[in-house]
Symmetry: none
C-alpha cells in the first residue's frame, strides 16, 4: 500500500500485517475512541511490534485515516429509480455509517488534526473526500440520464456543482448527527431531501 516495491534485498514486508493493523485500529476505535487509542495498544492487538507500525505509518492520525477510509469505501449507490430516492438512500446509508462508533470518533478527530497538518489534509482529501465524491457524480449522471437534471457542458462548472452538493449533503448530515446530536431519521431525511431537490431544480444552481 505504501511502498510496494522499494528495493529487493532483505525480508519483505508482511502483507497480512497491514490488514491486521487496520482491523485492530478499527477495533480499538470502537472500544476506546480516538483519544484513548494508543499505538502500543494497536500493535498489541494486531500481534505486531510497535516498530512495524511506525515503519508503515507516521502516526496515529495517518493510521486512522487509512483505517476509516476503508469504511467509507463500503458506501454504494444502487439505482433507486429517481434522484430523490437516490439522495434519500445515500443520506440514510451515510447516517448509518456515522452511527458506528469507529467512524463517529475518528472522522472529526482527524479533521481536527489536519487543521495544522498539510500532509494529513491531503491524505484525508485523497483517501476519503475525493473517493466519496464518486457517489455524487454517479447520482448526477443518472439524474441527467433520467432527464431530472440538465447536462452541464462546462466541466469546471460541473465540478464546482459536484463539490457543492457533496459538501451540502455530507456536511449537513455530519452536523446533524455529530454536532447537533439529533437523529437522522426518515422524516428528517425526507425534509432535507425536499429542500435539496428544490435547490437543485432552481435555475441557477443546477
Amino acid at each position: 500500500m505504501r511502498n510496494p516495491s522499494p528495493g529487493r534485498t532483505g525480508r519483505p514486508r508482511s502483507a497480512a500485517a497491514d490488514a491486521a493493523i487496520l482491523a485492530a485500529t478499527r477495533d480499538a476505535l470502537v472500544e476506546l475512541g480516538w483519544s484513548k487509542l494508543t499505538m502500543g495498544d494497536v500493535s498489541a492487538r494486531a500481534g505486531v511490534a510497535k516498530t512495524t507500525l511506525y515503519r508503515r505509518w507516521a502516526g496515529k492520525s495517518e493510521l486512522v485515516v487509512d483505517a476509516v477510509a476503508e469504511l467509507f469505501d463500503s458506501l454504494e449507490l444502487p439505482d433507486r429509480g429517481s434522484l430523490e430516492a437516490d439522495i434519500e438512500y445515500v443520506v440514510l446509508r451515510f447516517a448509518e455509517l456515522l452511527r458506528r462508533p469507529e467512524a463517529r470518533t475518528a472522522l472529526m478527530a482527524v479533521v481536527s488534526e489536519s487543521t495544522r497538518d498539510e500532509a494529513l489534509r491531503d491524505r484525508i482529501r485523497s483517501a476519503i473526500v475525493d473517493r466519496q465524491k464518486r457517489l455524487v457524480v454517479l447520482g448526477r449522471e443518472r439524474a441527467q440520464a433520467r432527464g431530472e437534471l440538465p447536462y452541464e457542458e462546462d466541466e469546471f462548472l460541473a465540478s464546482r456543482t459536484t463539490d457543492l452538493i457533496f459538501d451540502v449533503i455530507a456536511g449537513t448530515v455530519v452536523h446533524r448527527a455529530l454536532v447537533s446530536s439529533e437523529p437522522v431519521d426518515e422524516l428528517w431525511v425526507a425534509t432535507f431531501t425536499a429542500l435539496l431537490m428544490h435547490g437543485l431544480r432552481g435555475p441557477a444552481a443546477a
Copy 2:
C-alpha cells in the same frame, strides 16, 4: 456559570482567574493546536495553578468548549436588507471565524471527544449549538417580516425547520472549510446561497 454561591464560607473563587484561563486557552490553541495544548501549559500562561484549573473544569474538552463558545458568541447578524444578503453575510462571517486557528482546531476536536461523552455533548449543545441558532431564528423572522418567507404557525414544524437550516448552513460551511479544505469565497457563497434560497422557497420546506 460554575457555582458562584453554593455555600458561603471559605475564600471565594477569583473571578479574574476564569477570564485569564479562557483567554490563555485560546492563545494556546492558536500556537499549539488542540492536540498539543496541555492543561499545564494553559495554567502557566494564565498565571494560575493547575489545581485551580481542574477545580473549575473537568478536563481539556470542557475548558475548550467554554473558550471557543465565547468566540462564537461574537457572531452577529445585522439587517442587510434581504434574506439572500443576510445569508451571504452570516456565511461569510462564519467562514471567517473558521479561518481562525483556535476555532478550526478546537471545534472538530471537541465534537470528536463528545461522541463518547454524553455530558460533553450536552455542554456543546448548550454552549454553542443552541446559542447560535438565534441567528437562524433572527434571519427567519426578518424574512417573514419582509414577506420573503411565509409564517409557520405550527411551532414544532417551525423549530424543525430552524434546526434543518442551521445544520445545512453550519454543516456545509464547516465541511467545505475543514473537510474538503476548499476556500469559502464570495463566488462559492453566492452559489450556495442561491441553492439554499431555492430550497427554502420550494413549497414543502418553507
Copy 3:
C-alpha cells in the same frame, strides 16, 4: 504550652485544641505512619482548621516531636530492689514503648529530619532526650545508695557517664528493635543487662 499570654486583647487560643491536635497526631501516626501523615488529615481529625495548626507548630516534624514526647514521659522507674532489676525493667518498658506504632514510626523519622535542621535537633533534645535522662540519673542514684556503684565526685565525669549509659541503653534497644528488627525479649534483656553490669563494674567506666 506555646504562648499562653502574650498580649491581652483578642480571643485567646483554645487550650482544648492543643490536646485534640496532639491526640489526633498520635492517632494518625498509628493509622498512617509518618510518611503518609499529613497536616490536613491531622487538622480534620482534630476538628480544627489547618491555619490553627500552623499557628502553633511550624510543621509536621515539630508537631510530631511534641506528640511523641508525651509518650516518652509516661516511662517510669519504680525501685525494683537492685541495679540489675532496675535496668531490666526500664529496658523492657522502653522496648514496649517502641512496639507502639506511633513511637516506632515517628522517632526515627524526626531524628532523620533533624540531621538537617538545627532547631529541630534542639527540640528533640529538650523534649525527649534530656527528659529521659532522668531515668538514668535516678537509677544511678539508687544504685549508689545501695552501694552497687561508687559515688563520682567530679560532676563533669558523672554527667559524661550518664550520657554514655543513656546512649548505650537507648541506642542498643532502638537498634535491636528497629534496625535489626529482632525481638527484645526477656532472654535478650538478661544478656544485655549482664554485659552492661560487667561494663559498669569495671574499674574505669564506673
Copy 4:
C-alpha cells in the same frame, strides 16, 4: 542485582544506568537530604528518565537503601593488634561515616519507613545489617586467635552474642551521633570501649 537475565528478548537494561542512579542518589542526599530528595531530581541528575528509575526500584526508600548500602560496604577492619584497638578503630570509622550527610539523613529515614513495610525491613537487613555483622565476626575471631576472648562452641550462642555486640556498638554510636547529637570523639570512644571491654570479659557475656 535486579533481574539480569529473566527472558532473553528485547533490549537489555543498561548496566551503566544503575551505577549512575545510585551515585546521583547519594549526591542528592548530600545536597537535599532525605525529605527533599525526589525521584524526578535523581533521574535528572543521573541523566535517566523517571520511568527507568521506577522500572528498577519500587520507590524512594528502596533506592536509598541500595545507595547507602554501598557506603557501608566501604567499612573495613584492619588488624590493629588488640581487641580494644580494633573496637576503637571500627567505632571511629563508623562515626566518621555517620558524619557524612548522605548517611546521616538516609539511615534513620529508611528505618522509619521500614516500620510499616515488611519488604523494606528485609531489604535493610540483607543489604546493610547482615553485611556489616561481618565486622563483628571478624573482630571476634581475631580476638579469639589472640586469646583475648574464649571460643564459644555453641553456634547459636555465638550468633546471639554477635548480634548483641553489633547492636550495642552500632546502636550506641548512632544514638550518640544522631539522637543525642553529641560528638563521637576519641575520648568518648575510649570510655565506651572500656565499658564494652569489661562487659565482654565478664564471665556470662563472653
